[in-house]
Amino acid sequence: MTPMVEALAIHKRFGSTEVLRGVDLVVGPGAVSCVIGPSGSGKSTLLRCINHLERIDSGSLRVDGHLVGYRERGGKLYEMRESEVAQQRRDIGMVFQRFNLFPHKTALENVMEAPLVVRRHARGKARDRAVELLDRVGLADRRDNYPAQLSGGQQQRVAIARALAMDPRLMLFDEPTSALDPELVGEVLDVMRGLAREGMTMVVVTHEMGFAREVGDDLVFMDEGVIVEQGDPREVLAAPRHERTKAFLSKVL
């Protein structure tokens, strides 16, 4: 079975700082992989490489068997055109720490936007689907509100619905609850839990150890651009083998 994400020896540098120093990561279809680690460990960068928001400097990165951002022909790599990259991204949903909803559009318009513009769906069809998705994230009564009129947790749920509207095969979550007030974290995690139950493949960069323990199939601890420890979340959280993992967990748990 083709893994949904297959990263081999990923290196990425920003100027003179090497952010990723040889990362290998495999996420099977339907699996939930949680990535934890101190800030600056490269976990967000890894996530952003998966949908080519950042380009890797070396290594190979495949999503659903296809190279991300490149085409291979005759043993040679060709950089993809921008339109091809856009096409690849349609199947990968991304949820950001700061939501990044479109402030000039209502919740419903936010969710309809990509199906209308990118998939060129008919307005009625896009609308029906958006209504259904907003209902699913528990915001049926908020569809005509602008993002500024919604709480952080509600905005993030709209952002999840917006990503789901493209029917992605893979969902990337970049610290989805880090910008939320503590009492709003639960409602977002509930939606993500539901997604995981329905078999969505997810890579989640998070600080929510409870979520990782309960929902994660795999826990990845990153530090200084490498994966330090990886395994079943319950085992890693209960009995970390590596010193750096122990030190990190003792600070956050």
């Binding site: 949908n51 928001l53 921008e82 339109s83 856009a86 096409q87 991204r89 349609r90 990968i92 949903g93 991304m94 950001f96 700061r98 990044n100 909803l101 479109f102 402030p103 000039h104 559009k105 209502t106 936007e113 990509a114 513009v117 990118v118 602008y146 993002p147 500024a148 952002a159 917006r162 990503a163 493209m166």
Partner: protein
């Protein structure tokens, strides 16, 4: 209904300074109005006589036409230049920068004269294969008549200024918006048109209003190439009848009227693009200033 706690009973802060300022200003205003009405030099009957006269209205028509058309050229050109300037293609970016440098860096009067006297440099303009045969050819003076020279001069100059305004607006939009649109699979053009520009409009509109109001009056520079608009029309009249002050008042009243209409229009457009963004009223209202500030809920 639960019983409400009694309202706080406090003496509000008094603002005696405001009332003193109002009194001083009221006296000054009364003096001004009195002198304007009683000084015969203003010749209000002459103002009334010329306000709607044929030559003045003709000039007004040209002022409106020049302003609207040059602003259309300026805004469309400015958006294109700003997009070029921000393009990852270094050639496009460099060409736009060069254009902005030239058109902002030389006087508008010189540009107007240049377009008017283009025929001295190129008597004929033609379309054809580069360095090859011509397909069609025009006499420059026929193709670029006086009116066209005015539009080229005002519009192309304005485009350079608008380019910087639009660029500033685009830069003001959070980069996360572009990333979110990109992550959804939207192309750069779609992202610009549907996500970035509508948000940039909020920043672009106020200075564009400024530019339009300024263009109303800048268009009077077309006098250097012998064209006429509102100000030129009244100048022609007072140079023969010597009623300088009343005729300048005629022009001023029309400019004020046009500016008022534009300001209202600007407010309308600003509200349109302010959707979804919590924007309060632009400032304290005059009445609120005099009344005690009420605690708002």
């Amino acid at each position: 209904m639960p019983e409400r706690p009694p309202p706080l009973n406090a003496v509000p802060v008094r603002h005696p300074g405001r009332w003193v300022a109002v009194a001083v200003l009221a006296v000054l205003a009364a003096m001004l109005v009195h002198s304007v009405l009683t000084n015969d030099g203003f010749r209000w009957p002459v103002v009334g006589q010329y306000l709607f006269s044929g030559p003045v209205l003709n000039g007004l028509k040209n002022t409106l036409l020049l302003t609207v058309l040059s602003m259309v050229i300026g805004i469309v050109g400015g958006i294109l230049l700003a997009i070029m300037r921000l393009s990852p293609n270094p050639i496009l970016s460099w060409v736009a920068a060069l254009y902005i440098w030239v058109f902002r860096g030389t006087p508008l009067i010189a540009q107007l004269l240049f377009w008017n006297f283009l025929s001295a440099l190129y008597p004929r303009l033609s379309l054809g294969v580069p360095f090859g045969p011509e397909l069609v050819s025009f006499d420059t003076n026929v193709l670029i008549n006086q009116f066209a020279a005015c539009l080229l001069g005002l519009g192309l100059n304005e485009a350079a200024y608008m380019a910087e305004i639009v660029r500033g607006g685009i830069a003001s939009v959070d980069h996360g918006q572009t990333e979110a649109a990109g992550a959804l699979g939207m192309s750069r053009a779609q992202t610009l048109r549907r996500i970035v520009l509508p948000q940039a409009m909020r920043v672009i509109i106020p200075p564009t209003g400024n530019e339009t109001i300024s263009m109303l009056k800048t268009s009077s520079l077309v006098v250097v190439i012998g064209y006429f608009e509102l100000l030129t029309s009244v100048q022609r009249i007072y140079s023969t009848n010597f009623q300088t002050i009343p005729l300048l008042i005629v022009a001023a009243l029309w400019y004020l009227a046009l500016t008022s209409v534009l300001s209202v229009g600007q407010g309308f457009i600003e509200r349109r693009y302010g959707r979804g963004l919590a924007t309060g009223p632009p400032g304290p209202s005059l009445l609120g200033f005099l009344r005690r500030e009420k605690a708002t809920t």
